[in-house]
């Protein structure tokens, strides 16, 4: 009952906003090119989602036909870049972060460079990325990797450095070797931080993919809404934006579900 009421109250504000928006359009208070009505956006969304051609079994399988619509192709393109970029960025950040957190020597060697590079927003790498990689997926994936790299790195370093020394003392008391200390104590103890970093990194990757598609790639959700502007299709722009929002929400929900499943031992997540 309580959750039902919470859901009901959660939907109230969006409904009011939607009604207000529809009112603006229906009363003709704003130019439909500037702000189309929600109904028009919905209709466009459906058209954007639908397969372009009629189903022809001779041409392709049913599944392939269902996902052949422009929106789904764009979303898959963006998602592909996010995932590849994220895994490259996080995959490089994780071992470096573990080494920096564990060894003062490695930390001392790398930290100054990291601190100089970290404040550069991934967007600022756009000119270089195009110069180095041309157009298409490579520069986009490069930018996304940079976006994912730093949050994962910083959180991994902090996670390893903050492992409670009492656990290491217990480990030594039980006779654990340095390798065992690392794999069975330091690594699991740092996972809450590492997952937080991964979640932030994924969020950054998602921002960067949209930007990079506006500049270097000619498909994907970011490209599509910029393209729609050239035709003054504001309904498609808004439909694309909502798609980006829903996809981002989906990814973040998935990440948070995954981490609370893997960290069910963690005290901080008791109430989550």
């Amino acid at each position: 009952m309580k959750s039902y009421r919470r859901a009901a109250s959660g939907i109230l504000v969006p409904l009011v906003a939607l009604a207000f928006w529809q009112l603006l359009s229906s009363m003709g208070w704003v130019n439909a090119t500037i702000l189309p009505s929600p109904m028009r956006v919905l209709v466009k969304w459906w058209a954007y989602l639908r397969p372009l051609e009629a189903y022809d079994p001779a041409q392709m399988s049913h599944l392939k036909w269902v996902v052949s619509g422009e929106l789904i192709q764009d979303a898959m393109g963006s998602l592909y870049r996010v995932l590849v970029g994220f895994f490259i960025g996080a995959g490089l950040a994780l071992p470096l972060g573990l080494a920096m957190g564990y060894s003062k020597l490695v930390y001392g060697l790398f930290n100054p460079l990291i601190q100089v590079l970290r404040p550069i927003p991934p967007i600022a790498y756009i000119p270089l990325s195009i110069l180095w990689f041309g157009l298409g997926n490579p520069p986009a994936i490069f930018l996304i990797s940079i976006g994912a790299f730093f949050p994962v790195l910083m959180n991994t370093v902090t996670g390893v450095q903050n492992v409670d020394s009492i656990y290491l003392r217990v480990g030594r008391n039980l006779g654990a070797s340095r390798l065992t200390q690392f794999t069975r104590i330091i690594l699991p103890a740092a996972t809450p931080y590492i997952f937080t970093g991964a979640r932030i990194g994924m969020g950054t990757a998602f921002i960067v993919v949209i930007v990079s598609e506006m500049i270097a790639v000619n498909n994907g959700l970011g490209y599509r809404i910029l393209e729609a502007r050239e035709y003054l299709w504001s309904d498609k722009i808004i439909a694309g934006m909502f798609t980006i929002g829903l996809l981002g929400l989906g990814i973040d929900t998935l990440m948070s579900r995954l981490s609370s499943h893997l960290l069910k031992w963690h005290r901080g997540l008791e109430q989550a």
Binding site: I166, Y167, R169, V170, R172, N173, L174, G175, A176, S177, T180, R184, I185, P188, A189, T191, K264, W265, H266, R267, E270
Partner: protein, 265 residues
């Protein structure tokens, strides 16, 4: 001398604190026999935990030697299992994984680990909680797991650093009884740090009272009350009163130090 299990000889420990040398341990000599239950008793800052950590091998003495079965201590090791006040269970491991961890490190075969874990779960009444994570256990339960984890090592020596300090009175008494039962059954040598006079009198064969800075041994007292001990008996209370007086002298020196430090601030 020959029946001595743990031998502490002329041990000193000096710390640097705020640019000053703090003499945490000074000329400590202590012999603990095989199977003996010894409590180290004193106010905070008397060096009782420092001494325990030195025996554990976490922080070696500045001078002097500590030997176990005649061999000098150089490192922490599973022959001297330690139980910490903060439980220090690995939160990412279930109860049974925590208990099994020491055996896995040793390289014990899987069936033998399983058998040992089952035995310990039974011994400490933890069988119903084997799949739980530490966060879902009460303080008393966590300390049972910590004790089981150390017992899994089969170490002849148990080092306990105020293990029951954070527990409520009833849970505490319950675990004290449990520990005495295990000690009688398993015949371990136990070195147990506490600041509770009653706890020391209830548990120990011998109570070593330590002085506040520098940490020295003020009194080494054999507690020959019959077991199980009655905390309400006149003999128990007479000893409690004597030890209370000894301890209050040290406590007042600690207080003076703290007042002096506060005055400097």
């Amino acid at each position: 001398m020959s029946d001595s299990h743990i031998s502490v000889q002329d041990v000193h420990k000096v710390f640097q604190s705020g640019g000053q040398d703090v003499h945490a341990l000074k000329a400590i000599n202590l012999e603990v026999k095989q199977g003996e239950f010894v409590c180290l008793l004193g106010p905070s800052g008397c060096g009782k935990s420092t001494l325990l950590n030195a025996v554990a091998g976490f922080s070696l003495p500045s001078s002097g030697t500590i030997t176990v079965d005649g061999l000098p201590i150089t490192d922490p090791g599973p022959d001297r299992g330690m139980v910490f006040q903060e439980y220090a269970l690995f939160p990412w491991m279930t109860v049974e994984q925590n208990i099994a961890f020491g055996l896995q490190i040793k390289g014990t075969a899987k069936p033998a680990i399983q058998a040992k874990v089952d035995e310990l779960l039974e011994l400490l009444h933890l069988a119903d909680f084997r799949k739980r994570f530490p966060k879902d256990l009460s303080g008393g339960m966590r300390q049972r797991v910590a004790i089981a984890r150390v017992l899994a090592l089969d170490s002849p020596i148990l080092l306990m650093d105020e293990p029951f300090g954070a527990l409520d009175a009833l849970t505490r008494r319950n675990l004290q009884d449990e520990l005495l039962r295990l000690w009688t059954e398993l015949r371990k040598t136990i070195l147990f740090v506490t600041h509770s006079i009653e706890e020391a009198l209830y548990l120990a064969d011998r109570t070593v009272v330590m002085t506040y800075r520098p940490g020295t041994i003020k009194r080494d007292l054999v507690i020959d009350l019959p077991r199980p001990r009655d905390v309400a008996s006149p003999a128990f209370n007479a000893l409690k009163k004597d030890l209370g007086q000894l301890l209050m002298e040290e406590q007042s020196r600690l207080n003076q130090d703290e007042f002096r430090a506060a005055a400097v601030d």
